[in-house]
Structure formats: C-alpha cells, structure tokens
C-alpha cells in the first residue's frame, strides 16, 4: 500500500510538471502576450513596452522562462503576475479559499441529492418520477450555467430575498456566527445554480448504471429473499452500480476549482473565477499556470480517491499495486 501511495505521489509530481510545461508551450501558441495591447492605450510608447517585456523576461526563450518559473516555484511564489505586480500564489490562495468555500459544499450536496434521486428513478423505471426526471435533466442540460446564474440574479433582484452577488455584506460586523450567516446567505444563489447545473450528469449516470444492475440475477435473488426495498436499492444494488459513479466523482473533484468560474463571474463571487478569466484573456500567464496547477492537484486527488474507492467497492478489481 505504502509503495502504491508513493508511486502515485511520483506520478502526481510528474503530472504537475507535464501540465505546466505543456501549458507554457500552449501559451506560446496563442498569439499576443500581456503587453501586446499596451500600445493601443496610446500614451505608452513602444520603447517602454519593450522595456517591460524585457523586465518580465517575456523576450527570453521558452525553456529559460520555464526554468525561471520553476525557480520561483521553489521560492513558494508560483511566478509573478504582470497585472498585479505580485507573486501569483499570494493572489491565488485567498481566492482559491473562497472558491472552495462555495464549490465543496455544492459538490457534496449535488451528489447527496442526485444519487438517491437517480436510484429511485431507476427503480421506478418508466414511472412518473422517471419521466419527470428524464425531461428535467434534458432541460437542464439544455441551459447554460450563465443563463441559470443570470436568471437567479434577476430573481434576487425582483424578490429582494437574496443578495445579488458578492460574498459578504459591506458591514458584516458582528460575531463569527453572524458573519457565517451572512456568507451562507450570499452563498445561497450561486450554490443553487451550481448544484442545479451539476445534477443532471450525475443523475443520468446513476440511473443508467442502476438500471443495468437492477435486472441482474443477484438482485432478483435478493428480492426473492424478501430483502427490503430500500436495502435492496441502496445496500445491494448501489454498491454494484458504484463503479462508473466513483470514476465520475473523482472527475467532478477536478471541477472544484474551475467548474464554478462562470457562476462566480456572474454572481461576482470573489473566487478564482473572475481573476483567472481575466488573466486568461490578458495572458497574465503565471496566474493562469498557477490556477491550472491548483485544479490539476484537485484532479489528481480526485482520481486517486476514485481509484482507491474503486478497489474498495469493486472486489472484482484486483489491486495491482
């Protein structure tokens, strides 16, 4: 087991290198760099633009830049943001915290909602619940997160029941609990949008795999022993159907960082979303690299957990570690 963990750790590190290197290369591909629009703001002379480029080492060849970056990683600040004149890590971490504050609960909640719902739908195959849910998911998949978010905003505006964005009220004075309530209150809408947006895929997978398991011999046999309905569904069928769901769960962890980007932008949630989106368009490359690495870490963690769970839930898979 220890050896297995170590090996996975090795892979993870290799992966991070791979991703960052690839990213550097890709950013090379995309036309323009951070300063390429500077000259349009008239006042800035080409000369000073050139000066800036050299100062930030943008004129250096790719390998040199990558090494420089690695070096800065060594010093704990993942490169340097051109726009902010600050170490990327110092910018990313606080925002990452806010993002996770929003996405982690959403991830859990959406699974907690979707799995039972999917199981029930599968067990009532063809029933009204099943139909309703089928139509529902299709409809949800037909709508874009942006649209949902915007609708939510308008709702907030019309009803006045929710804040129309942000994470805390301006004067969130008061005790810890008061602050928490305030944050939760602000979280409500973006959370709903995120959850609603992420339900459909989980539901669909749960349902389809459950359907497969539900008409297998052993489930019928268990039925034949009069095992209770819920026990049958959740204790017998679900574990047998878990396999793809587990993989899916692992993957969905990768979205903890990146998945809420658009919603954050529309709901002005002070997470990584707005900053990263801006950085992407502005070619503030180290910020982007940092963000991507962060989400890569979550992806790795997710897949790792998924693999472990696979082995736990599916004894048919031989642990090849």
């Amino acid at each position: 087991m220890i050896r297995y963990l170590l090996r996975r750790l090795g892979h993870a590190i290799f992966l991070l290198f791979g991703v960052s290197l690839l990213l550097f290369f890709l950013m090379q591909l995309a036309p323009g760099d951070f300063f390429s629009t500077a000259r349009l703001s008239g006042s800035i002379s080409p000369a000073s633009i050139h000066a800036l480029r050299t100062e930030y080492g943008l004129d250096k060849p790719l390998p040199v830049r990558y090494l420089r970056w690695l070096n800065s990683v060594g010093h704990g600040d993942f490169g340097y943001s051109f726009a902010y004149n600050m170490p990327a890590s110092a910018l990313l971490l606080p925002r990452a915290r806010n993002t996770l504050l929003l996405t982690v609960p959403c991830l859990l909640i959406s699974w907690i909602i979707a799995v039972p719902l999917g199981v029930l739908a599968a067990s009532r195959r063809g029933g009204w619940l099943d139909r309703f849910y089928s139509g529902g998911t299709s409809a949800l998949l037909g709508m874009h997160d942006l649209l949902l978010a915007l609708l939510a905003l308008l709702l907030a505006l019309r009803t006045g029941a929710f804040p129309t964005g942000g994470m805390m009220s301006l004067d969130a004075a008061g005790g810890l609990w008061a602050n928490w309530k305030d944050v939760l209150w602000h979280m409500a809408l973006p959370a709903i949008v995120l959850i609603v947006g992420s339900l459909a895929p989980i539901l669909r997978h749960v349902r389809s795999t459950m359907l497969e398991v539900l008409d297998s011999h052993y489930i019928r046999a268990a039925e034949g022993h009069g095992v209770g309905r819920l026990t049958l569904l959740f204790r017998h069928a679900l574990p047998a159907a878990a396999n793809p769901l587990i993989s899916l769960f692992g993957l969905s962890m990768a979205l903890l960082i990146a998945g809420s980007m658009l919603v954050e932008v529309v709901m002005s949630w002070p997470g990584m979303g707005p900053m990263v989106l801006e950085a992407i368009l502005a070619r503030d490359m180290f910020l982007v690299v940092g963000a991507v690495l962060l989400s890569t870490i979550f992806l790795i963690a997710g897949n790792f957990i998924a693999d472990i769970l696979l082995y736990v839930f599916d004894p048919r898979i031989r642990i090849n570690a």
């Binding site: 011999h217 019928r220 268990a222 009069g226």
Partner: protein, 557 residues
C-alpha cells in the same frame, strides 16, 4: 392427466390436512429476445402438504426452475405466469401486494436458486448478504444477526465461518457458494423451502449433511420442502412424494415406488440410471474396443500428457485496510500425472482445491510454486469447463455465438462452417439446434452447462477439464454426454480431467481416481479399488455416497 389431489397412499399426510402450497393450472411463458415465445410450464397442478418433502424430478429443461421461480413470482423480466393460481396457506400468491409478497419471500417461502454463482451479489460479503435477509424479516440486533449467521453457516458445513462471512462470492469455491446460498435461504426458518438442485456442486459428505439438516428442520420447525433434483436416490430417502416433469408439464406424481412401478421409459430412465447409463457406457466401450485405440489398460501406461509436480497455491483474502487477513492453502504440493488419452477423475470435499488445481492446469492461476509441464513442452490446447457454466457464458451472446466463440477466436473455417459446427455440437449435447438464436441467459441451468461443454469441444482440445460439468444434468443426459466424450476419446485420444462428486458411475468412465483433501492429493487408485480404499478421506466420501442410497431402492431393481 395430472393428478392434483394428494393420494391417500402417501406417507404421513392425512387427507384432512390442508395443503401448504397448491398450484392450479399454472403456465409460464418466456419471450425470447429474438421474439419467439417459449412455454416453460403448461397447466401445472401441484399440491404439497405441510411438513412434506415434494421431490421434483425431470430432465434438463423440463421446467423445474421455472416452477420454482413461478411460485415466488421471481421469473426474469421476459418471463410471465400466463395462467393459473398459486396458493400458499390458502392465499393466492399471484394476488399479493408487493409488501405482502416481500414478507412472504424469505420468511414464508425461501428459494435456493440453482446457480448460486449468479444468485450471490459479487460486491457484498457473504455475511452482509445473509444478515440483510435475516434483518429484512425479523427485528434482531446486529450482534445477534452476526451470531445467527455464523451458526447457520456452521450448520451447512463450515466448521469455522469466520473467513466465509468476510469472503466475497468470487473468493469461495463452488460448493462453498452453494452452501452460503443454502444458509441464506434457511436463515429465516421459512415455512416452505424451494431447493432448486441444492446439492449439485456438493461432495457426497456435505450432501448427506445438508439432507440431515433438512430432515432436522422438517422435524423441528415443520419445514416443508420442494426438492428439485436429478438424483432419484436422494429422493428415495427424503421425499414423501415425487413429481416427474417433462416439457413443462407434470408427467406423473406419487411416491417413488408408485412412479417407479409405472411402465414409462422416460420416468424409469430418470429413476433407474443404472440401466440407461449401463447401456450408454457399454455402447461407448464397444466403439472403443472396436476402434484401434489402445484399451484402457494400456492407456494408463501411456506417456503423461501433463505432469504436475509439487504445485502449491494459496490465496490471501483480506478486506481493504483491515488487519484481519486469511491465507487459504488451496493446493499443498500436489503431484499428478495425467496420461495421454486417459480420464482422471478428481473427487474430494468441497473446498479441497479441485477447481484451483484445474485452473492451474488450464493456466488461469499461477501456482506459487511447483511446475506444470506438458509433454512436448509449451502449452497444449487444454480446455477448462468452468464449474459455474452460468457465469462462464457472456449473457450478451446467443447460444450459437457462445459455442462458436473458440472458432471465431481461432478464425477457423468460414462463418458458415462455424455455424454448422456449432449447431452440430448443440445437437450432440442434446440441445435443440432451433435454439441457436437464443441468448445464453434464456437457457436452463443444465442447458447452459451443455452449452459450456459444447463450446469447450468446439475448441477441439487435446485435454478437457470438466469441473462438475454434468452436475446439472439428468441421468440420461449425463449418459449421453459421457458417451459423447468417450467417443471423442476413443477416436481422437482426448484426455479428461473430470472433477465430480458423483461416485456412482466412476467405474464406467474413469481410468483413475484421485482424492483431494484440504489442497492435497491424499489418495489415488483405480475406480474399482476406490470403494475398497482404506484412506479415511476416501472412505468418508464413499460411505457418504452409499448413505445417499435409500435402502428400499435396490429392492425395486
């Protein structure tokens, strides 16, 4: 034509007594995926009194399992009870609400399904699966449930259940699985037990134990049993009444003696195997001697096809991240020579390592130590016929695809040829070629076993390992298959390793018998000498086998 009413002659039952289960004109149809309708049961009338054991005897495919499933309304989605009524203690099962049905199942009527390998959930431990049944019907604390589970397991012949409870089905031997399934069915002390060939992959000793257990339960908890089997002998000592089935209908009912008396070849064929088998085998033997093949005597001297020298294999069974781990010594350095063109029978208690040995020879498992060498080096074409035919066939395949698979893989001949070969093999193994288009899931247990045999033969192997491959077949069929195998042997010098529990016909087809116990080969002798062997393990098996005979039966012969 069927006599629904229980006749006064039958032992123990007074006519006044109300029937525990009464089936009236039950018919079951299946719709095959390719659209054809299959009628599995036709207008079956049955009646069974409390505390009685009803033996159900019938050729493979005659509708026994359909009957069992129909009683509990457990037919597969494509199956349907098209007519009739099933009354249990007076209430019509077919009219029960889902919740009532759930209460009835397991607690009232319990079913031991024919193929435990399919009936057990592959991702749950045995304990979990038994406990859930128990707790579904009775309020018991977790501890008590665990205790009772272990108790029940030791009842069905697990001296120390600790490993078994923690094991997943795929970590058990065929017989162990079957016993687990039995335990699962008995855990709630049902009023009526439907046992669909519950002994098919159990050694004679365990068979005897299980039968004793049933008798005990019958006495103490006045259990009523519907006992589906091929083995008339078992019934002779157990059943109060016997039903003979054929092609979905009831052919005859009554006590074994009564039926045995009737002048009906089909029935007699089922009941008095010695005749049929005797005939069959002698025919085969005839061919053998007529052909130029060396006689069995010389055969035993022939050079070995495969040499197994001190092979050991152990399995480690542990739950993820749990300290508790069990090491199972499935094979303790095993020596065995299998002569070219001979038939070696392997017998031994359930869990003694027969299948493991087979899997090692066939190359599905790597021995921890020891060597398995084939003469002429390299691997020869060895075909293992899996113990659980049901799991060894891809449910997505049709019978024809399944049988032709080895040919497809080997890209042998034209598609037309493969098809024709597949059909021929079905024919030879007693399957109607008209069923070639059916999915393998749509066959009966025994039919699936034959599919597996046919598939193995299609590969045109040099050696075939049969792992209880005849256990699901009625005696005439067993005879037919054995003849087929022996023909092949005599013409193409096939070699057989035949794992079986049924000692009665060993002499007819085996050249040698090896006895396994706890992973080791403890005894090896000629079939004839088997019954005289002095080794305790062997003796135990032999005596148990004889104890299965009812005293009365020979008299009838």
């Amino acid at each position: 034509m069927t006599s629904g009413v229980s006749d006064p002659g039958s032992a123990g039952a007074s006519p006044a007594q109300a029937a525990r289960l009464r089936m009236r004109g039950v018919s079951v149809d299946y719709v095959s995926a390719n659209g054809e309708d299959i009628s599995a049961l036709r207008d079956v009338n049955l009646e069974i009194l409390p505390q009685h054991v009803l033996g159900v005897l019938g050729e493979s495919g005659s509708g026994k399992s359909s009957l069992s499933r129909a009683i509990l309304r457990l037919l597969p989605p494509n199956g349907k009870i098209v007519a009739g009524s099933v009354e249990y203690d007076g209430k019509d099962i077919l009219r029960l609400s889902p919740s009532q049905l759930r209460e009835l199942r397991g607690a009232g009527i319990a079913l031991i399904s024919q193929e435990p390998a399919l009936a057990l959930n592959p991702v749950l431990t045995i304990e979990r699966q038994i406990i859930d049944v128990l707790r579904a019907h009775s309020r018991v604390s977790k501890q008590e449930a665990m205790a009772r589970t272990r108790a029940m397991l030791s009842e069905v012949g697990f001296p120390d259940p600790e490993r078994i409870v923690r094991a997943y089905p795929h970590q058990l031997s065929g017989g162990q699985r079957q016993r687990a399934a039995i335990a699962q069915a008995l855990i709630c002390q049902p009023g009526l037990l439907i046992a669909d060939e519950p002994l098919s992959s159990l050694d004679t000793i365990t068979q005897a134990e299980i039968l004793d257990l049933l008798r005990k339960l019958k006495r103490e908890f006045n259990l009523t049993v519907i006992f589906v089997t091929h083995n008339a002998r078992v019934l002779s000592s157990l059943a109060d009444k016997v039903v003979i089935m054929r092609q979905g209908g009831v052919r005859a009912t009554g006590t074994l003696e009564q039926i045995g008396a009737e002048p009906d070849d089909y029935v007699r064929g089922l009941i008095y195997p010695e005749k049929t088998l005797g005939r069959g085998i002698s025919r085969a033997a005839g061919n053998a001697s007529s052909s130029t093949q060396p006689s069995s005597a010389q055969r035993s001297l022939a050079q070995p096809l495969v040499q197994i020298s001190n092979v050991s294999k152990h399995f480690v069974q542990r739950r993820f991240l749990s300290r508790k781990k069990f090491a199972v010594q499935a094979l303790k350095d095993v020596h065995l020579e299998i002569p070219q063109g001979s038939t070696v029978a392997v017998i031994g208690r359930s869990g003694s390592g027969k299948t493991t040995l087979a899997r090692c020879i066939a190359g599905f498992e790597k021995p921890d130590s020891g060597r398995i060498t084939f003469t002429g080096g390299g691997r020869r074409n060895v075909q293992l016929i899996f113990q659980d035919a049901g799991t060894a066939l891809n449910p997505r395949f049709t019978a024809e695809e399944a049988i032709a698979e080895p040919l497809d893989i080997g890209r042998q001949g034209t598609p037309a040829y493969r098809r024709q070969r597949a059909l021929q093999l079905m024919e030879e193994s007693g399957l109607d070629p008209a069923w070639a288009g059916r999915k393998v899931g749509e066959f009966s247990g025994g039919q699936r076993q034959r599919l597996a045999i046919a598939r193995a033969l299609a590969a045109e192997p040099e050696m075939v390992i049969l792992d209880e491959s005849l256990s699901g077949l009625d005696l005439p069929l067993q005879a037919q298959i054995l003849c087929l195998l022996m023909d092949l042997q005599s013409h193409h010098g096939l070699t057989y390793l035949h794992i079986t529990h049924d000692l009665s016909f060993l002499p007819q087809f085996a050249d040698r018998v090896v006895v396994m116990d706890q992973g080791a080969i403890v005894d090896a002798c000629s079939p004839a000498a088997l019954f005289a062997s002095s080794h305790p393990a062997t003796r135990a098996l032999v005596e148990a086998s004889e104890s299965l005979h009812a005293p009365g039966l020979e008299a009838v012969l």
